[in-house]
């Protein structure tokens, strides 16, 4: 049984169909990439899976259970973690604070039990701070620091700096660190290397490979193709809201439909481009 299964997902905005009937499944321990040009509907698909948007049609299941339309906070408790395309960090929280928020759903002190009493209990625990709460907090803090340390010199020296002062690339790293703090069962990465140069991209690729090797299940949106090709067990190609190809990286890479939609056309219809180029040369 796949860990994540998406079937027939549709989302329309006004006259535009952003996602038009997408099927997708991710087996446990695998890394599946979604590629496609900007505006193909990849991020909308992520939002539909992670509960930030509700589909007009279709179904999302996680670990066999229907999670269509679940609120994001509920999905976090199922340990489904995501990063955001534009780096939604908590600007006034430190790097460490951001990562600790990632572990929020794991806190025993914050578990939702009874609707009202659970919340009051949480308040009481935060006020009294008994030994168990302090130990849990200390353990999480140590774990968060270990996660930050995986990003080495990029984040470790900045652990107490507010996130608003970080570079774009570092915000992306904080996002991934925050997601890891949830110890996710499924990790959704939305363009983790956007805004990174080649060296930084290579670092990120190594990190994702490491995460995959440790058994983490990952759904990845990415534009950098050689990264996608080397990391993925399966590649799903989207264009104009639909899946136009899927399969092993090697197969997808040579699929003419993919080359056409994603990598560009060898010949633009009617040879207008050639004409334009010819004119320019005159």
């Amino acid at each position: 049984m796949p860990l994540l299964e998406v079937s027939g997902l549709v989302r329309r905005f006004g006259g535009v169909t952003a996602v038009g009937g997408v099927d997708l499944s991710v087996e446990e321990g695998r890394l599946v990439s979604v590629i496609g040009p900007n505006g193909a509907g990849k991020t909308t698909l992520f939002n539909l899976i992670t509960g930030l948007d509700r589909p007009d049609e279709g179904k999302v299941s996680f670990d066999g259970a229907d999670i269509t339309g679940f609120a994001p906070e509920k999905l976090a408790h199922l340990r489904l973690a995501r990063t955001f395309q534009h780096g939604r960090v908590f600007a006034n929280l430190s790097v460490l604070g951001n990562v600790l928020v990632g572990a929020h759903a794991r806190l025993r002190a914050a578990r939702p039990r009874l609707p009202v009493l659970g919340a009051l209990g949480e308040l009481a625990l935060a006020l009294i701070q008994p030994g168990s709460v302090r130990r849990e907090e200390a353990a999480l803090r140590a774990e968060a620091l270990a996660i930050i340390a995986r990003f080495g010199e990029r984040l470790l020296p900045r652990q107490d700096q507010p996130a608003y002062s970080l570079s774009y690339a570092n915000r992306r790293r904080v996002e991934i660190a925050r997601a890891l703090a949830l110890s996710p069962r499924l990790l959704l990465l939305d363009e983790p290397t956007a805004g990174m140069n080649q060296t930084e991209t290579a670092e990120m690729q190594a990190l994702i490979a490491e995460l995959k090797a440790s058994g983490l299940t990952i759904l990845l949106i990415e534009h950098k193709l050689d990264m996608v090709m080397s990391l993925s067990d399966e590649v799903v190609v989207m264009d104009d809201g639909k899946v136009i190809a899927r399969g092993l990286p090697q197969a997808v890479r040579h699929d003419p439909a993919v080359i056409e939609a994603y990598l560009g056309h060898r010949e633009v219809g009617g040879g207008a481009a050639e004409k334009a180029l010819a004119e320019a040369a005159e």
């Binding site: 900007n38 505006g39 395309q85 608003y164 002062s165 193709l225 890479r253 990598l263 060898r266 219809g269």
Partner: protein, 247 residues
């Protein structure tokens, strides 16, 4: 035109440095758009492409550096003044006025113009370039499909009779069929004598209609040259697609 004369620069960015708060987006960005050409600025997401567009249109002011249009420093001008100098814009994600009709959207493109009769004439002219829009004139722009919206956005920019049109990812979110159509139209607009500066993610697409290209990576130009040369340059994929050998 003799082959030896250097092309006349219509738009020039010189050592532009831009910041969002404490974070630097552009590092000494310089580029030139010669008159009459199509120039593509290529790069991945968050490379600083769209910010370049904002700088040219005056929506964002750089910390340092100059922006010249037709020889004039436009760095201190406000967006409406820059538009009046003869720059048209096709914004990212089209940005039509959703509750206005297609006709009203097109006429908004001619907002800075006072020559009413010429505007009416240009509306006819634009509709010959985009014949499909003729049947949609009364429809609310927000109800159009993505491809149709892109047509309106381009036609709207043309209505200002600009010397230069800046296009931000004009093929974004379009079905492959429309992508072709849009690229053809861009080439056609260029043949009408309008210089075009377009920001694109899809390199091979953009370079096929462009004369020159620049590749932007984390705020720096890492590659530039004639489109025909860049098309066959392996480094271009390295630069932002990450070196895939496909296609």
């Amino acid at each position: 035109m003799s082959e030896t004369t250097a092309p006349v620069p219509l738009l020039e960015l010189d050592k532009v440095n831009t910041f969002y708060g404490p974070v630097q987006v552009h590092f000494d960005l310089s580029l030139t758009v010669p008159k009459g050409e199509i120039v593509s600025l290529l790069g991945g997401n968050a490379s600083g492409k769209s910010t370049t567009m904002k700088i040219i249109l005056g929506l964002l002011k750089p910390q340092s550096g100059t922006v010249r249009f037709a020889g004039e420093d436009i760095g201190a001008l406000q967006t409406p003044q820059i538009i009046r100098r003869g720059i048209g814009s096709v914004p990212e994600a089209r940005r039509l006025f959703p509750d206005m009709s297609v006709r009203e959207n097109l006429l908004m493109g001619a907002f800075t113009r006072t020559d009413k009769q010429a505007v009416a004439h240009d509306l006819d002219w634009v509709l010959t370039l985009f014949p499909k829009l003729g049947q949609r004139l009364a429809q609310r722009a927000g109800t159009l499909s993505g491809g149709e919206q892109q047509m309106v956005a381009m036609a709207r920019a043309l209505m200002g009779r600009p010397k230069l049109i800046c296009m931000d990812e004009p093929t974004m979110g379009l079905s492959p069929l429309f992508v072709d159509r849009v690229l053809e139209l861009i080439a056609a607009i260029n043949r009408e004598g309008v210089t075009i500066f377009m920001v694109e993610q899809n390199a091979s697409l953009a370079l096929q209609i462009a004369h020159r290209g620049y590749v932007l990576q984390t705020g720096r130009i890492v590659l530039e040259g004639k489109a025909a040369d860049l098309l066959v340059d392996a480094r271009i994929r390295d630069a932002y697609l990450g070196g895939a050998e496909a296609a």
